[in-house]
């Protein structure tokens, strides 16, 4: 590990943590515009986080240490994930320690802890949300793994930097397997990030919530970390999507000049992705919760198709 790659790693992590709330603000802004509403400030998520950090935390009397530590674990897991995903450059020393399967494991770790914390307090809504989260999670994870396996088959490695290097530096051609995988990944991302059509991040109806129901009992710094973590999760998923399907502009190892261009390219791609997400959320209604298996089943099917196409057609 050189100093340069270490710095690259730090820079990438810092950008992820710093820009994640901005991405959420941008999606909210686009959604408001698409609904003919005047949009909230782009910086609103930052202000919300700052406001929450300045408040005193209220914790239920029945809360165990799991409830208190979960925000830190979830935030930590999302930071680790951000360090693995090559968003700016592929020269990531940390990524050597964890491959794509470990990445899915990190997301699962965060999910397990947030579900445990939700049930820890003993309120009906926490248990309701945790139950639904696990229900969505066990359907989404296999589909996500299949998508990553498809990319691994193309590049011959489960290490994300290697996958990106392989995908970014091949001749320009449309891979049918990646097209299937791309659709599957989009569907999984919507479900995993509690977006419409699976969950509604802006709802106030406690009976319909999934993610929001689990964090209902949190306040102040705990809630701030969880909000930040869910912004990071959205950022991570966006970067995974960009790394797998639009890897152009990500700097290769030792290419300092490319690194300068990588940051604007990333922001540009994320901005486009945010608009696309806002479009999907504006145009669709929320599914009945028992339609989620159909939705995620379709995602899994498409991901398997992508693998089959890759194996049979070699593309």
């Amino acid at each position: 590990m050189t100093i340069a790659s270490f710095l690259t790693q730090l820079l990438e992590l810092a950008i992820a943590v710093a820009l994640a709330p901005l991405l959420v603000g941008w999606v909210n802004m686009c959604r408001a515009w698409l609904q003919n509403k005047s949009a909230p400030s782009l910086l609103l998520p930052y202000r919300t986080i700052r406001k929450l950090f300045m408040k005193d935390a209220v914790v239920a009397q029945s809360a165990s240490p799991i409830f208190r530590t979960t925000p830190y674990i979830v935030f930590g897991a999302m930071c680790c994930a951000a360090a693995i995903v090559p968003s700016l450059a592929t020269d990531l020393p940390f990524a050597q320690a964890a491959d794509a399967i470990a990445l899915v494991g990190l997301f699962a770790l965060a999910r397990v802890f947030i579900a445990l914390a939700a049930m820890d307090i003993g309120t009906a809504f926490g248990a309701l949300g945790a139950r639904r989260e696990m229900f969505v999670g066990f359907l989404a994870e296999p589909a996500l793994l299949m998508v990553l396996f498809t990319a691994s088959l193309i590049s011959g490695s489960t290490s994300l930097p290697t996958i990106v290097d392989a995908l970014a530096h091949r001749e320009l051609a449309i891979y049918p397997s990646l097209a299937f995988a791309g659709v599957a990944f989009t569907m999984v991302s919507l479900a995993e990030n509690a977006r419409i059509p699976i969950d509604n991040p802006s709802t106030h109806l406690e009976l319909t919530m999934i993610h929001e129901a689990m964090v209902l009992e949190y306040s102040a710094r705990h809630l701030a970390l969880l909000e930040w973590a869910s912004a990071l999760k959205l950022f991570n998923y966006s970067c995974i999507g960009l790394a797998l399907f639009f890897p152009f502009g990500i700097a290769a190892a030792g290419d300092w000049l490319a690194l300068i261009g990588a940051a604007p390219a990333l922001i540009f791609k994320l901005a486009i992705g945010g608009v696309a997400l806002a479009f999907i959320e504006t145009l669709s209604a929320k599914l009945r919760i028992f339609r989620a298996p159909e939705f995620l089943g379709t995602a899994f099917l498409l991901a398997v198709l992508a693998m089959l196409v890759n194996l049979l057609l070699g593309g």
Binding site: R31, L34, Q35, N36, K37, A124, F125, L128, I196, P197, N200, S202, T203, H204, L205, E206, L207, T208, M209, L216, T282, L283, S284, A285, K286, L287, R288, I289, F290, R291
Partner: protein, 514 residues
Amino acid sequence: MNLSGLGLVGAQLPGAIPAQRVPVSSGQLLAACRLGWEQGSRLVALWISDDRDRARGFCLHIALHDQEGVTLLEYTIPDASSAYPDISTIFPAANRMQRAAFDLVGVASESDDQRPWLWLASWPIDKFPLQRDFVASPKWEPGEETYAFVKVEGDGVHEIPVGPVHAGIIEPGHFRFQVVGEKVLRLEERLGYVHKGIEKRFESLRIGEAHRLAGRVSGDSTVAYAWAYAQAVEAIADAAVPPRAAWLRALALERERIANHLGDLGYLGNDGGFAFGLAQFSRLKEDVLRLNLAAFGHRMMMDYVVPGGVASSLAAAYAAQIREQCPALEREIRILRDIYDEHAGLQDRFRTCGRAPPDLAQQLGLTGLCGRASGQEFDLRCDFPLPPYDVIAPRKMTQTDGDVAARVTVRFDELLESLRLCSALIDGLSDGEVNAPVPEPPPYRLGLGFIEGWRGPVFIALETGPDGTIRRCHPHDPSWSNWPVLEHAVIGNIVPDFPLINKSFNLTYSGHDL
């Protein structure tokens, strides 16, 4: 309703709606109710008044209505210790009305269900606010109340308590779900959290000023309540309303319907996860409310309807604006309706969700807009057309599916119909006075008001006291009949669909808890 089979003769009550009052004895009460049920009558309201100061004990009033008009059964109860027959075996909606009547007046029915309904330990259990010798004391400390919810036992069955404080900014009400997984086995409501003592407050007001309180029973139906109250006063005082005032009242009532339907349609989209609908419909509703403020002096037209007419005339410029707004709204609503109808995701949420089939609706007495979505073809504007409804002839909008989609369809249909009515009302608006003096009503008379608000028929029974005072005033919201049906409509649905079903009913808490 023809009660001559029981040998009962009714005395006609004065007023715009045909009504008769029939004194019954204890043996005749259930027989009269059963005969009414067989003839297709529906329970409107049940209340008790304390007439001990006039040496008449307590009087139980049961208002039924059918296509011929309102029948008011009156049964005298000698003292608070004697119970009256349980009506809920014939009209299930009477259960909560009987319990509420006990909480307020202290006369019980013979029903097995004697749980309190409006009493939430905020006053001593042995004090009854609507008894004439009741003295309110500010020293009462709120107590603890334990309410016996019906539990469902079984493997995997558990409870979800929701409310009375909710995550969103809505009125308070408690919902107790018994679920297995996501499936609702039973829902039980607990209301009463917004009991404000409106009926007691009426007794301290004068007849000429209480229309303002009536207009605040449920803010979204302020025109309907104020009109119903005015109708009751005018019936007792035998006062006529100038034609222009009647037309303006109808215009206000239809605009209230338009504003509420617009709001509901937006929220129904939003609860289906389709926020675009909320943004669009809210914008349209806001246009209506702003023009209300300019033309009627209040966004929701509070205090516009007064006994004898309306508070102010409508300037020609605003009449023209309202006339112009109708086709503009209609154009946009038709576009939005197409979007709703063709949105597969939204239709998937709406269809078959929260069904109240017509036979259940008929059995439980589902009324108003929700009733019309379940094949209950009652609309006071068509059944007993008062001026100007006899001229502009509204069409009755009905559906038979009884699901959320049907209630959305009825809302769209009524919205477009109300826009047509508004245009017709402006076109046919005559010149003249908008207010006629109302003579002081004679004491100890009963007057009824019965107006089809946007939610359903709003009922007010007013009894005058000496010197222009109010002896008893009972406002009754259609939600009384519809809240119990919501409990049935939810059974078998999944928990996350409840907010959508609840919103499609959109019942009032304030108007119910009083």
